[in-house]
């Protein structure tokens, strides 16, 4: 027994000593003097040095979108750094095109604030705010997708366009020691600014999805920020083709709800891919939109229907179904949302049908 206590004691002493040493070193060695960041040549903020630019800006309530929470694995948090960032790091290059590298685009989660910086960010990011919200409803759309309705408390309203996304904060719990952010498309109509709906698919051991599916309850408080993103309906008169799978329904649903409300007359087809009937959801709502918008058709397709499903609709991979229905897409434009694999395959099919690449817009779930 005494041997065990001695071992635990020595181990704790060594670990504590090393931790203290590191804390002391951090206090003495790391340069935390204040630095100024000039944004778009109009605004100057002062932040403590030594931290990543993404976190420093967030502390000053300027939110740069980042789906991975600052680990350099999503490539979303791009900002243009005109001065003071130092050389490009190897962790950034995979996410930046040659053009971006030349024009000073950097990943803000990888750039540390070591000296005064001059940066340029899109003006619309200034409209991004942090919101406190309350879970109003939580319901199962399928066996693995939940619909979460968040009622905004402070500020009480959000202005967004259909197709944009927000980031929700997951507080520390069993799967994470620190708060992390994950991005989800808003699935509700922008005409309801006091609440937003999200569709969140469960991923085993996913930090955020496990939190939402297993821990979140009606009445819980949630912190979120947004809106972000440029995915959304372009104001052309072209025929529309929407393609989505699983929780990729969310931004398309927001667009369709808005189209139904505004009685948008553009010809429009929505191909929704699922494995079996149990993976289909909001079908009745889509059928209702079909009655409200005469030019809209909802085409759900099952790739592996159960015999019990008694499915009489379209079957096969979504790419096959699109291929069968679309004969000439030269004058159409497409909006895709889902996994990178699905999107790449769909782009291939649409191009074969004559659709120019610049008319294809997508939101990839990385």
């Amino acid at each position: 027994m005494s041997d065990l206590l001695l071992a635990v004691g020595i181990l704790c002493a060594i670990n504590t000593g090393l931790a203290l040493l590191l804390m002391l070193a951090e206090a003495v060695i790391v340069d935390t003097r204040d630095r100024s960041i000039t944004i778009n040549d109009t605004q100057i903020v002062t932040v403590p040095g030594g931290r990543p630019l993404l976190a420093a800006l967030k502390d000053r309530k300027i939110f740069i979108p980042s789906a991975c929470g600052g680990r350099g694995s999503c490539g979303l948090c791009k900002v243009t750094v005109i001065e003071g960032a130092g050389p490009l790091l190897a962790t950034e290059t995979p996410w930046l095109t040659a053009e971006e590298q030349k024009s000073g685009v950097r990943l803000s989660c990888q750039v540390k604030v070591r000296r005064d910086l001059r940066i340029r960010i899109p003006e619309e990011l200034f409209a991004v705010k942090q919101y406190q919200a309350e879970v109003a409803t939580l319901s199962d759309l399928t066996h693995d997708i939940k619909q979460v309705t968040l009622k905004l408390l402070d500020p009480p309203e959000i202005t967004f366009t259909a197709g944009q996304f927000v980031q929700i904060e997951v507080p520390p719990y069993a799967l994470t020691d620190e708060p992390i952010y994950r991005a989800y498309s808003v699935a509700s109509d922008p005409c309801q600014p006091s609440q937003i709906e999200l569709e969140i698919r469960y991923v085993p051991n996913g930090i955020c999805t496990t939190y939402v599916h297993k821990h979140l309850k009606v009445g819980d408080r949630v912190t979120l920020n947004g809106p972000y993103g440029t995915f959304g309906l372009r104001p052309t008169g072209r025929e529309l083709i929407f393609i989505a799978g699983g929780s990729g329904m969310a931004p398309i649903r927001a667009i369709l709800l808005e189209m139904a409300r505004t009685q948008n007359p553009r010809p429009c087809r929505y191909f929704f891919g699922a494995r079996a009937k149990r993976d289909l959801f909001l079908v009745e709502e889509m059928r209702r939109i079909e009655t409200e918008l005469p030019s809209f058709r909802f085409i759900p397709a099952l790739s592996a229907p159960d015999p019990d499903d008694r499915w009489e609709g379209e079957t096969g991979l979504i790419t096959e179904v699109v291929g069968r229905h679309v004969t000439n897409a030269a004058q159409a434009e497409a909006y895709l949302c889902g996994s990178p694999l699905m999107i790449d395959a769909c782009i291939q099919v649409l191009r074969e049908k004559g659709m120019p690449e610049e008319n294809i817009f997508y939101d990839k779930f990385a």
Partner: protein
């Protein structure tokens, strides 16, 4: 082991008992970061420095804490913690002192924390009952040996990429493993000069 001096052990750790080519430790970063000489040089330098320093630190912890308290069975966990803390400390110092060096080495330092060659050096050192100077010589030599191996590999791979037509099935890790095996055979030529076992 008392008869082997600092330089003999250092020479032996670089050539006759190269930790990578005879013990096959540190293979993941060896294969992953050996496409370019510049990267290999950065990682090799960082590994050499960390093995030399952590071999001393772990020798001191082992000799003055674990042995007196009869806790040598804790060496695995203690050595790992010391290595992780040291790497973080080095990262902070390099970032403050030299930004170009930090930019060159910074991304490799976290890789080094999980490099099994570093832990291997500390464990071999206690298994072989090295004295302080022998441990330092072995740590430095093992790091330099690892750096030599990855540099040689990077040189070969860089040249292969420029001039050779490699069969498709062997591209990447396949050809790298074959080269590593050939290099290990070449290093066997040093066998018998000095033995550390």
């Amino acid at each position: 082991m008392e008869q082997l001096g600092f330089f003999t052990i250092l020479f032996s750790a670089v050539f006759t008992n190269n930790i990578l080519l005879t013990n096959y430790l540190g293979m993941c970063s060896f294969l992953g970061c050996s496409r370019e000489i510049k990267t290999a040089l950065g990682l090799g330098t960082a590994v050499s420095f960390v093995t030399a320093a952590t071999s001393i630190l772990n020798w001191l912890v082992y000799a003055y804490i674990l042995v007196p308290f009869d806790l040598v069975y804790l060496r695995f966990i203690v050595f790992i913690v010391v290595i992780a803390a040291f790497v973080q400390l080095v990262e902070m110092i390099i970032e403050r002192v030299s930004e170009p060096l930090y930019n060159a080495l910074g991304i490799f330092l976290p890789l080094i924390t999980v490099n099994c060659a570093i832990l291997g050096v500390s464990l071999f050192m206690v298994i072989r009952n090295y004295t302080f100077w022998q441990a330092f010589g072995y740590g430095l030599g093992a790091g330099l040996g690892w750096a030599l191996a990855i540099l040689a590999m990077a040189g070969i791979r860089q040249r292969l990429a420029q001039r050779s037509r490699i069969p498709r099935g062997l591209e990447g890790p396949g050809i790298a493993l074959i080269i590593a095996g050939t290099m290990a055979l070449a290093f066997m030529g040093f066998n018998g000069m000095v033995s550390l076992n």
